[in-house]
Assembly symmetry: C2
Homo-oligomer: 162 residues x 2
Amino acid sequence: MKWSELAGQPCPIARALSVFGDRWTLLVLRDCFLGVRRFDEFRERLGLPRAVLTERLRLLADEGVLDRVAYQQGPERHEYRLTAKGRDLYPVLLAIAGWSDRHMAGEAGPPLRHRHARCGQDFHAEMRCSECGEPLDPREVEVRPGAGFADPRARRQRPAGG
Amino acid sequence: MKWSELAGQPCPIARALSVFGDRWTLLVLRDCFLGVRRFDEFRERLGLPRAVLTERLRLLADEGVLDRVAYQQGPERHEYRLTAKGRDLYPVLLAIAGWSDRHMAGEAGPPLRHRHARCGQDFHAEMRCSECGEPLDPREVEVRPGAGFADPRARRQRPAGG
DNA sequence: CGAAGTAAGTTCAAAAAATGAACCGAGTCA
DNA sequence: TGACTCGGTTCATTTTTTGAACTTACTTCG
């Protein structure tokens, strides 16, 4: 399967990975949630090549995950801010962090603590069924084709090179 | 930053991405949750090169996400099954699917429906605070260094080429 | 004034990774 | 015997990533 075909697959995970399923994008988004907005700050924190960062930021902006907004004229410069669509990726990052804290931490425990300002506690994220509120077990989930399974409009392909 | 350094970063997301932060691994894991266990079935469903699949399955087994178990002697052949660690990745996939259904579906709606056998409803996954049960807003989360922040044992590097 | 610095890129050669096709090995099936 | 199966390996080609140098339009320092 070519990477450019991913976006057109009738699988939500494949579609999502066409946006952030590479080696850098989720780290870029992590930094977005930590307040990073500018090109060079991403670059310094992540240590990725400029050309790669340029391309990833462009893709995220094209996909509506980040907003590219000018913050000065003269030499026009832009910063990158999470859109609502981008902010909705927070559960993805929390789910990843939760798994990692549970399974990849060393002897001393997880490297970071997450504190929920609303309740004041250190927490981890819990995934629950939107309908009954119970935790979700993979063996209790059935997957079936939905309304958009064969939607030709969704089967668009990203322009070559994107 | 080199890819091999990711696993040693004091960030749970970076560590997790050292395991599945590439173009194929989450799709392999998706198929695992759909019951796929054998090399050729992964290969046919995903259409990825054999060498890449070989390497990814080996990494997932090395990391304890999949179990490589012989299912026949003669020519010894193995299948790959999710371990408990692997099953714990379900929230990650559900979070991704939930985001995608919300933001990447076409006019006709999401391509797949997820039904929770326990309650009988079509659902989406919800991420909540483990302590107070409220939905999590990124602006209400504070991140601070934790016990394992400087843990040298966790800062191991993956052997070169692995 | 000129020199150095800054931020956000672009360009380009070299290295690494992915791709796709062919091949392999131990056994089964007809 | 010859074709087929499954789970790989090998290898030449293509694509992607990397890292370093360069660019552009300013601003600040001396």
